[in-house]
């Protein structure tokens, strides 16, 4: 028969309580350390990954900018002539005149109207032209209109021929659009031009460009006679 002995139980508990208490403390410490330490390391790792990603984007952007540094200005000029920021009516008329003289036809009249409509941020200006010449030359002229810069759209064209003399009434639409107002953030990626954009660039660079002349300021000259120029 077993006799209940509180002294014996106390001895057994005393032997077990020390290591068990330490084990419990270690487990609690481990859980806390795991939650705090691992989360900090994971957070830091995420930050490193984000920073490396930003670094990669910026490196790519810098490479694109460096490689385009020399060509950026001519490309900007070329594209800005194709789609200007202001009403291009005068430039278009000048281009049309040059083309008409090249094709041997006469411009009977022209009229530039105020900007009429805006579609997809592109404003349109109407230019009415009346031209006279040979039928073949007029058709060549009309076809050549799509190879001039600033870009034009042919809206409606009426052609008449009587006793060998042909006349054409053309409604041209000149296009222009306001410049972008904001720059994207410094860290936003900047990719090279896409194949489609390069195609458009190749097209507009093959178009005939308007000739601009710079009028230099003259004088001041010495006037011998103050009352006469």
């Amino acid at each position: 028969m077993k006799i209940f002995d509180p002294g014996s139980i106390l001895t057994n508990v005393r032997v077990l309580i020390g290591p068990t208490a330490f084990l419990g403390a270690l487990v609690i410490l481990s859980v806390i350390a795991l939650r705090v330490g691992v989360s900090r390391v994971v957070f830091l790792r995420t930050q490193v990954a984000e920073s490396k990603n930003e670094e990669r984007h910026l490196t790519e952007k810098l490479e694109v900018l460096k490689s385009s540094e020399a060509s950026a200005l001519p490309l900007a000029d070329l594209s800005l002539i194709a789609v200007p920021s202001d009403n291009p009516a005068l430039t278009i008329i000048s281009q049309v005149k040059a083309l008409a003289s090249q094709k041997g036809i006469a411009i009977t009249s022209f009229e530039a109207k105020q900007a009429s409509s805006v579609e997809e941020d592109i404003s349109k200006t109407e230019i009415e032209l009346v031209l006279a010449g040979e039928m073949r030359s007029l058709l060549d002229f009309l076809q050549a209109l799509k190879t001039i810069s600033p870009l034009v759209t042919l809206d409606q064209t009426t052609l008449r021929q009587e006793s060998g003399a042909a006349r054409v009434d053309v409604l041209l639409l000149g296009n222009f659009a306001s410049l972008p107002q904001t720059l994207p953030s410094l860290s936003s990626p900047f990719n090279e031009l896409t194949a489609e954009e390069k195609d458009i660039l190749a097209k507009i660079s093959s178009y005939s460009q308007p000739q601009f002349t710079e009028v230099l300021p003259s004088g001041p000259y010495e006037r011998t006679d103050l009352f006469n120029f």
């Binding site: 002294g7 270690l26 064209t157 900047f190 954009e197």
Partner: protein, 175 residues
């Protein structure tokens, strides 16, 4: 020297308890070693990533300075991209330019004697008024019109004859 246990056997812990206590102590030692090792690894990783982060941030800052120096180039390229997008829309927009081009190709193939007296080019259709002096030329003209693959439909909207002027034909060309 002989060791003698003078404690009464009733006061000594039970052997099973001593064995469990031993196992717990061993787990404690192993656990502590793992804890120290994990702590050391975590501290090493923390230091490593901290250094990586500070290096990367320094590089990012340097790159941003370099990009800032090329801001003019960036502005120009953004302008180019914006203009090209708009140029694409203009070039892709409907225009009577294609109609003029197709009609010019068609007119080039007309037989000698055919006169194009009137033409109206719109965005999707072209209306032509033609004159033919005789039936021979007229037959040739029809051959050209029917043999052309430039248009989906060619509708004859009017056909008249006068002994002085010959045949007047109005056709509508639809792509």
């Amino acid at each position: 020297m002989v060791q003698i246990n003078l404690l009464p056997t009733d006061l000594a812990p039970r052997p099973s308890v001593i064995r469990v206590s031993g196992i717990v102590k061993r787990i404690l030692v192993v656990g502590f070693i793992i804890f120290i090792l994990a702590g050391a690894i975590a501290a090493a990783l923390y230091l490593f990533y901290s250094r990586e982060l500070s290096d990367s941030k320094a590089k990012v800052s340097e790159l941003k300075t370099n990009i800032k120096a090329l801001e003019v180039t960036e502005t120009r390229l953004i302008l180019v991209r914006d203009r090209l997008e708009k140029a694409g829309l203009i070039l892709g927009a409907e225009s009577s330019m294609d109609e003029v081009e197709s009609a010019a190709k068609l007119v080039t193939n007309f037989p000698q004697g055919v006169i194009l007296s009137d033409a109206k080019f719109q965005k999707e259709t072209s209306d032509l008024t033609l004159n033919s002096p005789n039936t021979t030329v007229l037959r040739e003209l029809f051959k050209v019109l029917t043999g052309s693959s430039l248009y989906k439909n060619i509708d004859m909207t009017s056909f008249s004859f006068s002994p002085q002027g010959g045949f007047d034909i109005k056709i509508q060309l639809i792509k």
